[in-house]
Symmetry: C2
Subunit: 403 residues, 2 copies
Amino acid sequence: MTDYRLKCISCEKEYEPERSLYYCQECGPLLGTLEVIYDYDKIKIGHSFSKNAGITQFKDLLPVNFQTNMDSFVGGTPLIKLRKIFGTDEMMIKFDGVSMSGSYKDRASIIAINKAMEYGFDTIFCASTGNAASSLAILSAHTRLKTYIFVPSTIPKGKLVQLIAAGAIVLPLIGTYDEAFDISMDIGLKKGWYCRNSAINPYLLEGKKTGAYEIIVQNDYKVPDFCFVSVGDGTVVSSLFKGFMEFERLGITDRMPRIIGVQAEGASTLKKVFEKGKPYTPIEEKVHTLADSISVGNPRDVIKACKYMEKYEGELISVSDEEILQGIMMLGSTTGVFSEPAGAAAFAGYQKMMGDGRIASRQSVCLVITGNGLKDIHAVENAVNVNNYKKEEIYNILEGGLI
Amino acid sequence: MTDYRLKCISCEKEYEPERSLYYCQECGPLLGTLEVIYDYDKIKIGHSFSKNAGITQFKDLLPVNFQTNMDSFVGGTPLIKLRKIFGTDEMMIKFDGVSMSGSYKDRASIIAINKAMEYGFDTIFCASTGNAASSLAILSAHTRLKTYIFVPSTIPKGKLVQLIAAGAIVLPLIGTYDEAFDISMDIGLKKGWYCRNSAINPYLLEGKKTGAYEIIVQNDYKVPDFCFVSVGDGTVVSSLFKGFMEFERLGITDRMPRIIGVQAEGASTLKKVFEKGKPYTPIEEKVHTLADSISVGNPRDVIKACKYMEKYEGELISVSDEEILQGIMMLGSTTGVFSEPAGAAAFAGYQKMMGDGRIASRQSVCLVITGNGLKDIHAVENAVNVNNYKKEEIYNILEGGLI
């Protein structure tokens, strides 16, 4: 663990870390999300990271002491490099579907769990569209923490079953993710449980930024020209900005990639806020997309994401559910990376920008694929038609050379 | 790649490797499975392996040259160590559910794919209960190989959807795995496609043995007292024997673990053959278990598995579907490892032997969990009941302290 302070993303007031301090007391939970800040001049690190190791190797850039048995199994996910594919000479796929719970959220949950233990909490809770919840449940199962999970009852089966198998106390709400979020905040804070809610807990982003670190390390310290990631609450995309920014600030790299956040057309609230311009003002909408992980109508990290987008010239684009679905199939059949819908949104966004002639083939591209397709097979299942065959039919088809 | 020869498991006749040589020409496909043999005196390796690296680090003990872009993302899965749990002081869980396709089969498929490319094939096929197929489809997707998959139409949805997303040509048979196997052999060999069928292809076991290597390396070169693994065709359990044996033979370790193969009560054909004794004679049965990956009534690696069991004092036990289901939940809620039914059979087998007083608490235990629970959520889904709640109900439950 490195010394750190917390700073309000809106009024820039600084705070010393405290047991139950989650957001700026003056700006409130939505405008006053806190960011972890370090004295970068005091941090001395070089190009000595391992391509295979997990997030514990970044302990000098993180605000926790690792103490659980699962710490070493978070991060260190594949960066798959493919040449001359999808129109680009150099494609990288950062695939966090291969992780303990099958999503990028493991990086955040492990930090929250360690923080809860450091502060002596006995219970931890979160509201989630599914992935944050299953990562929290799976990574906390072996600890002494009791885990409460608030999810919309529309959560995909795979994620729900993961939660139950991991022994969490699950409370599926007949309502939206945004409603589950509000209820969890109300009850959880009153009960004095530790809060692992997106954007509220300032430490989550610190875990997530390690994805950016790993992209750089696994790409031999070269910075990709573009980096595509799906956007819901805005925390993951913010974390990528911060991770790349810190490596540049520390002299490990000499520039930032161009970061493109991809939303579903039916759930592009954050994009609307960003495009409306300053002062960034949170709005709330009814949203709908098959990409459940980014089906967010009241994004909790909207201010942070917009500020990063502005400062580092990022961009937000949106893709249709149809494009996402086609993205799953094309990405899977060409690379073997089987992505859940939200993850494939990043790929669909890349295809859109490439189709618009905005990326040159010599520019390197990194897709951040945030979740495993096995978490939500329903989407693909409905989109394809598979026949079952009798023995004779298989012979006829293959001997007739019909497939 | 290291020099190697192939040796018949029954008559011990030796062969030079050839493009389409799969089994002993004198003993046939069931009795005459071939094993890869090396001149161990010529192999010089020490204790220099990495705990995080994938299977390519074992290239001096493998019969292939790695040439695909996925090679580095196979193996290197977590060995989760937990102390004083489930009655043992030292528990290790080798979790291959965290891998590109979510199962142990990735270790075998990547070898077959590299071999098919080395020999210049343009098509590869396999029959599978699901995991071998999805690993083959996912790992071959980025190569020039065309992939044909023969599965029983009862394949769990998660595995089927993985296959389709990975762009494989899938032929679900209205029939059993054993029937799909026979059809695939008949058509695939006639067509001149490369065969990635369990036990038939002698190189698969070589990939799978790396799981044993990794257990040793990740446990600081200490040998666990017991190693539990589920058994269907008998290839994975044979591969563990071979991996541990080779490390002992090379002086890296000084003993073997006690290996316990666990079958489902409704599909314990291999156990029956072993218990009937020598000469081991393959039989064929109708089987039924919810653990689809080990639902095998005509085990293809029966001779090899029985010979290893005999030579190294292994043991085969069986557990009920009910015990497997309880195993998934207990393993998940206590450790966070979410296993598919077949994987949890290993845990259920451990619990049974522990319950019988056959394992002392000071003895170290390794469970090999071969597949991710997300691959077959149906089993767990049916075993649990989750209510959805209205907002007021959640308040009542939590404020009333009812959960």
